[in-house]
């Protein structure tokens, strides 16, 4: 990826392009970092304010899910080109695992 330690010779235009791309990426990362901090604050506040667990638990789970997606796309580059198959497998896996666990838990313990 972007961690080149050795020299690569680029033309001026290429250089500009890469620079612009990195800048956008950086902005994306900073924004999502801010969002993540904000989400964490919400989570802490919810718990500190001692709302009913029935409210807190689902909201926390939702926030966690959002965090995972932000993490995957902004920090682990899943949105970059050539990651389509990986994304497909991860999300199908998560989907199937979620359904399975949900079904099993409801059948066994309710």
């Amino acid at each position: 990826m972007a961690h080149d330690t050795h020299d690569i010779h680029r033309s001026r235009a290429e250089y500009e392009f890469v620079k612009r791309k990195r800048a956008t990426e950086m902005r994306g990362q900073l924004t999502s970092f801010a969002i993540m901090i904000f989400l964490t604050l919400i989570a802490f506040t919810l718990v500190a304010a001692e709302f009913s667990p029935y409210l807190i638990v689902p909201i926390l789970l939702l926030l966690a899910a959002i965090q995972v997606v932000l993490q995957l796309y902004h920090f682990m580059h899943m949105g970059n080109k050539g990651h389509g198959m990986m994304a497909f497998f991860m999300f199908s896996g998560m989907f199937i695992a979620f359904l399975t666990v949900l079904a099993m838990v409801t059948i066994v313990w309710w």
């Binding site: 199908s92 896996g93 199937i96 695992a97 409801t106 059948i107």
Partner: protein, 638 residues
């Protein structure tokens, strides 16, 4: 056989196969060991049928019967059907996508040896105090009560071979995603490669639940945990969930590659492009998804409650839709084709009604209220043998004939092949059709005998006769293999004359580097396209002839798996408490495994280079051999 046709000694050949990382040789290893376990499972089946031949028979004792029954099912599913399919996947899928090997050749070898040692470990139980006896499903209440070490052999053996399957699955996935030749887009992949891909995805997602279940089982049995022990607050039903969350996808892991083999056969021997290729691909993917959402249809009678039963009944019926789509696509592929009834094609045609019958009984069982009648009766036995034998085993036999020339360079006899087919096919229907009625008449499955007054004598006797027919068919196949090997008439690239996909464009068996130049794919059925355009070489190339980088052989996978094998004995006997040697054995075994992992990690193995000159020389040798063959007799079908 090997990369260069030098004469090598027997020992050298063995060593070559133990250390090989070549997907074509690993395929042969899978075929031989899977074939061996198929024979073992077959003998066990014959013992079962002999015991049930007449009322009140005492050929096997009740306890032995349970062991034979359990080992038959376990062996056939885990050690015969899956490995033989892996053999074809390994041998053919990389060729179909124009690759020089799988993505991880070292892991490929490791996967095989793990499967092999797991299988051997499981079967050693026969000689070490008794085999597992709680059925291939190993339901927890029964398994925890089982005495001796049989169940421990089951859980440890399947853990090891399960790692092997998981590794194989991941390897195929990465290979198919990353190693396709230029132009080989997803929607140009041959259906066998597609089904290999989806089956591998199912392996990836289905084996972990089994591993978790078996881990719990090991902990319960060996370390006194209580996951499944109801009296200690555990829950015995959880095992059933784990097992079937794995188990239902497992049956699709078996049937999808079978579908793939038949899809190839229908297209080749109808000399037609597959009808509805896109529909077949999407049906395969859809089946893969649905396969994970139906497992509880095996548990309708455990008291899941009406809501769960209704949901799973519905989901199960839906899965029959994509399967039906496939059947129609195959029929329409044959329709209007110029059909040649070779042995593989005969199997394929016979597969359609046989498998459909199994699908129909499947949908019947999916009706939860009806399943209360059918469950645990011989009707179920009839159902799954119709899908597994009528689907998977027919595909294995068909695939053996179809791909034998590509794997070994010789052609199995068509005449003996037809004899095998008729014996097997008639025997199969004779054995299992009548079991539907035995089930409806109330005969429960997994009983070691029955009474003379129950009215099941005649049908059971007929069923046993059918089993002998199948055995004769298999024996003829063995004779066929031996005679073909002795005759050793070499065949050319495309021995069936109508090959469509890339594997038929290269020699049989292919040179160790498969493709001297990576092919360029211009559409579905690339070899057919080139043939139709009069391209004598059968391919166009995506690169100039140049040096090729190939992986080195390695002894490490064998040693790594051997370590697991040794460690399993230690684990198994350690908890007897009276065997001082058990713990050292466990430690030594793990030491061997981790030691070889360290060696693998620290020792650089950069592979070797086949230079352009060597390639040219080898290609010339291949051409000379081909000319010699043409001069003598034209090998192959016509």
């Amino acid at each position: 056989m090997s990369s260069n046709a030098q004469k090598t000694g027997f020992g050298a050949t063995i060593w070559d196969y133990i250390t090989t990382v070549d997907h074509k040789k690993i395929a042969i290893l899978y075929l031989i060991s899977g074939g061996f376990f198929f024979l073992v499972g077959g003998v066990e089946a014959m013992l079962i049928r002999i015991q049930l031949m007449k009322a009140g028979n005492d050929f096997l004792s009740a306890g032995t019967y349970n062991e034979v029954l359990t080992m038959h099912g376990t062996t056939m599913i885990f050690l015969a059907a899956m490995p033989i399919l892996f053999a074809f996947m390994n041998s053919i899928a990389p060729l179909q996508i124009g690759a020089r090997d799988v993505a991880f050749p070292f892991l490929n070898s490791l996967g095989f040896w793990l499967f092999f040692f797991g299988g051997v470990f499981l079967n050693l139980s026969w000689f070490l105090g008794g085999a597992p006896d709680a059925g291939w499903t190993n339901y927890a209440s029964l398994a925890l009560a089982s005495e001796g070490h049989g169940i421990d052999f089951y859980s440890l053996g399947l853990t090891i071979s399960g790692f092997g399957s998981l590794i194989a699955g991941i390897n195929f996935l990465v290979t198919i995603i990353n190693m396709r030749a230029p132009g080989m887009t997803y929607m140009r992949m041959p259906l066998f490669t597609w089904t290999t891909f989806v089956a591998s995805a199912l392996i990836l997602l289905a084996f972990p639940p089994l591993t978790v279940g078996i881990f719990f089982m090991i902990f319960d049995r060996l370390f006194g945990a209580n996951f499944f022990d109801v009296t200690m607050g555990g829950n015995t039903i959880i095992w059933e969930h784990f097992f079937w969350i794995f188990g239902h996808p497992e049956v699709y892991i078996l049937i999808l590659p079978a579908f793939g083999i038949f899809s190839e056969i229908f297209a080749i021997f109808s000399r037609k492009r597959l009808f509805g290729y896109t529909a077949l691909v999407f049906a395969t993917i859809l089946i893969g998804f649905y396969g994970f959402m139906v497992w509880a249809h095996h548990m309708f009678t455990t008291g899941l409650g009406p809501t769960a039963n209704a949901v799973f009944a519905l989901a199960t019926m839906i899965i029959a839709v994509p399967t039906g789509i496939k059947i129609f696509n195959w029929l329409l592929t044959i329709w209007g084709g110029s059909i040649s009834f070779t042995v593989p094609m005969i199997y394929a045609v016979a597969f359609i009604p046989s498998f459909t019958a199994g699908g129909v009984t499947g949908v019947m069982q999916a009706i939860a209220p009806l399943d209360y009648q059918l469950h645990d009766s011989y009707f179920i036995v009839a159902h799954f043998h119709y899908v597994i034998v009528g689907g998977v085993v027919l595909a294995i036999l068909a695939g053996t004939h179809l791909y034998w020339p590509k794997m070994f360079g010789t052609m199995l006899s068509e005449k003996l092949g037809k004899w095998t087919f008729w014996f097997f096919f008639i025997g199969f229907h004779l054995t299992f059709f009548i079991q539907h009625f035995l089930g409806l008449m109330g005969m429960p499955r997994r009983v070691y005998t029955f009474g003379a007054d129950q009215g099941w004598d005649l049908f059971n006797a007929i069923s046993t006769v059918g089993a002998f027919f199948m055995a004769v068919g298999v024996i003829i196949l063995l004779v066929n293999v031996v005679m073909t090997t002795i005759k050793n008439e070499r065949v050319g690239n495309d021995p069936w004359g109508d090959g469509r996909t890339l594997e038929w464009a290269i020699p049989s068996p292919p040179p160790f580097y498969n493709f001297a130049q990576t092919p360029l794919v211009r559409g579905l059925d690339p070899y057919w396209i080139e043939k139709m355009e009069g391209n004598k070489e059968g391919m166009i190339y995506a690169e100039p002839l140049g040096d090729i980088h190939m992986p080195n052989n390695s002894f490490i996978p064998f040693v790594m798996s051997l370590g697991m094998f040794v460690a399993s004995f230690g684990a198994l006997y350690h908890l007897d408490g009276d065997k001082a040697w058990a713990l050292p054995v466990l430690i030594i075994g793990l030491g061997i495994t981790f030691g070889s992992m360290l060696v693998r990690s620290w020792k650089d193995d950069l592979g070797f280079i086949v230079t352009k000159e060597e390639l040219i020389a080898d290609q010339e040798r291949i051409q000379r051999e081909a000319q010699a063959r043409e001069g003598g007799k034209n090998g192959g079908l016509k």
